[in-house]
């Protein structure tokens, strides 16, 4: 007995009971369609949150010195002066997973231009910072490598700072502003980014070479932090391991010592913010999954009735030469055909329903290929799993009794 014949036999049996086959399928159709729709809604809201987060920067990783304990008193986070320029250089030289790295030192205070002043923060960074945080120069230029080398007193300013200092619409480029009595010449302005998802104004800042801030403003030699971006989102964890290895080596930490730095990634932030939608997705999918399970039990129920009803047919098939495994295969193929066809229709219906939700309710949806593949695989397995018992029962029938079954 070959496979084609078995499939033909199963198809014929299904064709003899079209309505019943369809009703059985309906359970699977509804199950699969709801799994796909629910996952699409869940993944859609997750994705829209992730997009908001990625506005802040691309695959960002932030390194800060650890909090020190002095005389039993835990100090402010990042109070330790453990991050050195050498750490920055080593990471730049050795990294395999980082696309951009910028040191960071910052200072808050009043910024003054003629009769105007405003509170803001000056970030001492390298030019790669723009790429990491997705800032763009609107007018003028970013400071150069040479400006960093020479600790030049130049800066690039954000939109809010310009609005606060240049009330009558002057061109800020070339103007000199003062921060902590130190004059900075504005060489560029930043494109506005607006507020981020946590309500922080991303345009209220001044960017200057980190060397300038270190030497001329703060008078320190250490770094307050490093900001990096991983080459790809999936490499974030690898990048963190890599950085941690370099820093532990540079800081001569023993196996048993705690890290004297902390590394946080945007991914962590994103997973924190998406955990609610993840939970929602899981709940929705679980409810949908239950309906798929109920659909599977429907298959088992119908196949079971079908085996009883067709006992004589099974007896006949056995007496004319069908082996137990032929009967098993026949009924398994029937139930798999039901579940796979139901699965296919369910996938189409689920995609349609998701698009409808998107079109009518304007709800963000995202259909992940794996969710389609997964629900399809699950319903095939459902067919095999729930078809197995009735099929096994059919295959174990005694032909002598089956053929005379009334």
């Amino acid at each position: 007995m070959n496979g084609t014949n078995l499939i033909k036999i199963a198809l014929r049996a299904l064709a003899n009971n079209k309505l019943r086959g369809f009703l059985t399928m309906l359970g699977i159709i509804i199950g699969v369609a709801s799994v796909i729709t629910m996952l699409a809604i869940g993944q859609g809201s997750k994705k829209s949150i992730q997009e908001q987060i990625s506005e802040m920067g691309s695959n960002m990783i932030m390194i800060q010195p650890g909090a020190d304990i002095r005389g039993g008193v835990r100090q402010d986070a990042s109070a330790m002066e453990t991050l050195k320029l050498q750490d920055y250089k080593d990471i730049v030289n050795e990294t395999r997973y980082l696309a951009a790295i910028s040191p960071s030192v910052n200072s808050s205070g009043q910024i003054i231009y003629s009769s105007n002043n405003a509170p803001t923060t000056v970030y001492g960074i390298s030019s790669e910072y723009l790429e990491i945080r997705r800032y763009k120069i609107e007018e003028g230029d970013m400071f150069s490598e040479q400006d960093i080398q020479s600790a030049a007193k130049v800066c690039v300013v954000g939109k809010t700072v310009i609005d606060n200092l240049f009330k009558n619409g002057e061109n800020p480029i070339g103007k000199v502003i003062r921060f902590n009595k130190i004059p900075f010449r504005i060489i560029g302005t930043l494109e506005s980014k607006g507020y981020n998802s946590m309500g922080m104004d991303q345009d209220d800042l001044i960017l200057a070479p980190y060397t300038t801030i270190q030497k001329r403003v703060l008078a320190i030699t250490h770094l307050q932090g490093l900001t990096c971006s991983a080459t790809k989102e999936e490499y974030t964890d690898l990048a963190i391991d890599e950085i941690s290895e370099i820093l532990r080596r540079n800081h001569k930490l023993k196996q048993t010592d705690d890290d004297d730095f902390t590394i946080r990634s945007q991914q962590e932030l994103s997973s924190m913010l998406t955990s609610t939608t993840d939970l929602m997705t899981v709940l929705l999918a679980a409810v949908a999954g239950i309906s798929l399970l109920v659909g599977g039990i429907g298959i088992m129920n119908i196949m079971y009735v079908s085996v009883t009803e067709r006992t004589r047919e099974i007896g006949l098939r056995m007496s004319i030469g069908a082996k137990g495994r032929d009967i098993l295969a026949q009924f398994l193929i029937e139930s798999v055909l039901i579940s796979v066809t139901g699965g296919l229709i369910g996938v189409l219906l689920g995609i349609g329903a998701s698009l409808l939700v998107n079109g009518i309710a304007r709800f963000p949806i995202y259909i992940q290929p794996w969710s389609v593949f997964l629900s399809f695989a699950v319903c095939t397995l459902t067919g095999i799993f729930f078809g197995w018992y009735p099929a096994k029962k059919a295959a174990q029938l005694d032909p002598i009794e089956a053929i005379r079954y009334e």
Binding site: N16, R312, E313, L316, S319, G324, I403
Partner: protein, 254 residues
């Protein structure tokens, strides 16, 4: 008919001291208590007995559906007793054609598809060969004009003909008929017997299990069972023609 040449023919069935015991609760039921006989190619044998005589058990044994407790059964020279389930299924598929009292056709299925069924379980046949063989068989039983009729569109006699065609399609060594006329009226029964006599005349080996003594007049040999033993085994030297009997029956108007 051709019983004069029986001794020259090949032996199709050989039973040697067959016993079959069933355990029913505490008791052991002896359905067959030592049955021995041989059937040659081309014989048309009735196996007769009342209910409880063991004829169903004997039929199951002959049909390789059941294996004897003791003794040996050779079907076309092949010992069956020690065979496994799957091997017996294949043996049935190649060597035996079954005809049942209740036809056992697949519902809502055409005559051709029903007849093709045994060949579906034999991968040696392609779809075209299968169809060709099925059509040949249906023509042989006189249903050449009803190839695509579905089983629920046919009369009892026609359904039994389809069942006989299905038993012929694999060119079996022996056709086993189990009360094949039991569900039919006298006229249709005679028609079916005419068909069996025709198949017998063509040289086929047929075993007809029945409790109806009349059937034995139309067959070449009669084996009688009682309480699990053969009590009578005679050759019929005066085989009646079923066709003549049919002609004598009053004509149906409908």
């Amino acid at each position: 008919m051709n019983q004069a040449f029986i001794t020259d023919k090949r032996e199709i069935i050989r039973l040697e001291g067959i016993t079959r015991n069933f355990q029913v609760g505490e008791e052991v039921v002896h359905a067959l208590r030592g049955v021995s006989f041989a059937i040659n190619e081309g014989e048309f044998v009735t196996i007769m007995g009342s209910s409880g005589s063991g004829k169903s058990t004997l039929l199951n044994t002959l049909g390789c559906l059941d294996t004897p407790s003791e003794g040996e059964y050779f079907l076309d020279g092949i010992p069956v007793r020690t065979m496994g389930k799957n091997a017996r299924a294949t043996l049935r598929n190649r060597k035996i054609g079954f005809v049942f009292q209740s036809y056992n056709l697949l519902p809502k299925t055409t005559a051709i598809e029903n007849v093709e069924l045994p060949l579906m379980y034999n991968s040696a046949y392609s779809a075209t060969e299968r169809r060709k063989k099925a059509i040949e068989s249906l023509i042989a039983v006189g249903l050449g004009d009803r190839l695509n009729h579905k089983s629920n569109q046919m009369s009892g006699g026609q359904m039994q003909r389809v069942a006989i065609a299905r038993a012929l399609v694999n060119s079996p060594a022996v056709i086993l008929a189990d009360e094949a006329t039991g569900n039919l009226d006298t006229r249709t029964s005679s028609e079916i017997l005419v068909l069996f006599q025709k198949l017998h005349a063509e040289g086929r080996t047929i075993i007809f299990v029945t409790h109806n003594p009349e059937i034995s007049h139309y067959t070449s040999r009669n084996i009688q069972l009682k309480d699990g033993r053969v009590i009578n085994d005679t050759y019929n030297n005066n085989i009646l023609s079923a066709a003549e009997a049919l002609a004598k029956l009053p004509k149906n108007d409908d």
